[in-house]
């Protein structure tokens, strides 16, 4: 086919669209992923038993804020990476400072506490289970986020997969926070952040192939 013919064929087939159109489709996938993940959490793990009383504590809200920010900024970053030629500096820096800032605050709490409390603050009672649960809850979210990203046009599939994985991990950690009754910041900084990063790496490996177009 000659290029001129291609141009007339394409322009005849032009239908109005909006740059916001992909966002709706993506939002639907992500809400779906969140619903499946939340259903898993409620049926298999259950809400934390002390949900109502814990609402009065600061850590209750800190966990939700941290994980929601991870998920939200992760989605923002992934969305930017899905649009060719867009600079991603701002969301990338925000995500970086969020994680580093949270870990630094947790480290300050850890090192200013009496040494006798250290084991409890870092390991809690579920250090081994927590990352596994978050990773399990992230499976439907990772799938949904990657499918959603295919609606855009990522020109760096690996890095976009990493961002999508971080977003999915952050949202999974948010869902898990409804079930987890750990209340020390160092615990959250270590055992919530770790599975989010693992989920990011898994997303990068899958995205490298699944996000090609």
């Amino acid at each position: 086919m000659k290029t001129d013919d291609l141009i007339s064929a394409l322009s005849e087939r032009l239908e109005p669209t909006s740059p916001r159109a992909p966002l709706w489709a993506m939002a639907l996938w992500i809400v779906g992923g969140l619903a499946v993940s939340a259903a898993l959490m409620l049926t298999v793990l259950g809400l934390r038993p002390d949900f109502m009383t814990a609402m009065g504590t600061g850590m209750f809200w800190t966990k939700f804020t941290y994980t929601l920010a991870l998920g939200g900024i992760g989605l923002w970053l992934a969305e930017r990476m899905g649009r060719p030629g867009v600079q991603i500096g701002r969301p990338a820096r925000m995500l970086q400072s969020l994680v580093i800032g949270f870990i630094v605050l947790a480290a300050i709490r850890y090192f200013t506490a009496p040494a006798a409390d250290h084991a409890r603050m870092l390991m809690g009672h579920s250090a081994r289970l927590c990352p596994c649960y978050i990773l399990a809850l992230s499976v439907p979210l990772l799938l949904a986020t990657l499918v959603a990203m295919r609606r855009l046009a990522p020109t760096n599939p690996t890095l976009t997969g990493f961002a999508a994985g971080l977003a999915a991990g952050g949202m999974a950690a948010f869902v898990y926070a409804f079930s987890c009754n750990e209340s020390a910041m160092p615990f959250v900084a270590a055992w919530y952040t770790l599975p989010v990063l693992i989920c990011g790496l898994v997303g990068a490996v899958i995205g490298r192939f699944a996000l090609r177009w």
Partner: protein, 185 residues
Amino acid sequence: MIEAEAALRALMLRALKGDTRAYADLLAQLTRHLRAYYGRRLSAAPEDAEDLVQETLIAMHRRRDSYDPNQPLTAWVYAIARYRLIDHYRRSKVRATVPLEDAGALFAADEVEPAMARRDVSRLLDRLPAARAALIRATKIEGLTNAEAGEAVGLSEGAVKVNVHRGLKALSMKPRADAGGEAGE
């Protein structure tokens, strides 16, 4: 291409709303840019270059809603073009056969960079007195001799030389003075 950015972006915005004539016009203009882009990088295989032009047009058509209207259209186009080029290398496995000396072409700047430089120069020149800026344009950019440039405006060769020299000196001070204010995003 930067000069064309505003016009191309306006066409794209109309095309997104469904204006088929603006869209055909946009694609025709982008085809020229893409031919230059791929032609330079695939000079050994011109038929591949034209295939890639078409592939890129189709990719842009399918993913046209991935364009963010707040961003430069040219950045969007070249990012897609580069992606298709990398994809082409991957499929044809020529990666390993590109000699190291030629590898520079793969990473060569797009038309964006020289165009940015041109824009910066004209922006700087706009801050000089108009007559002096015109003399610098004539001698340093269009390549006239001092005598030719002087003849056009009725100055001697020496006067042109002094004017250009002072203008350039002033210019070389300006970007440094501005560097603080315009750095960053």
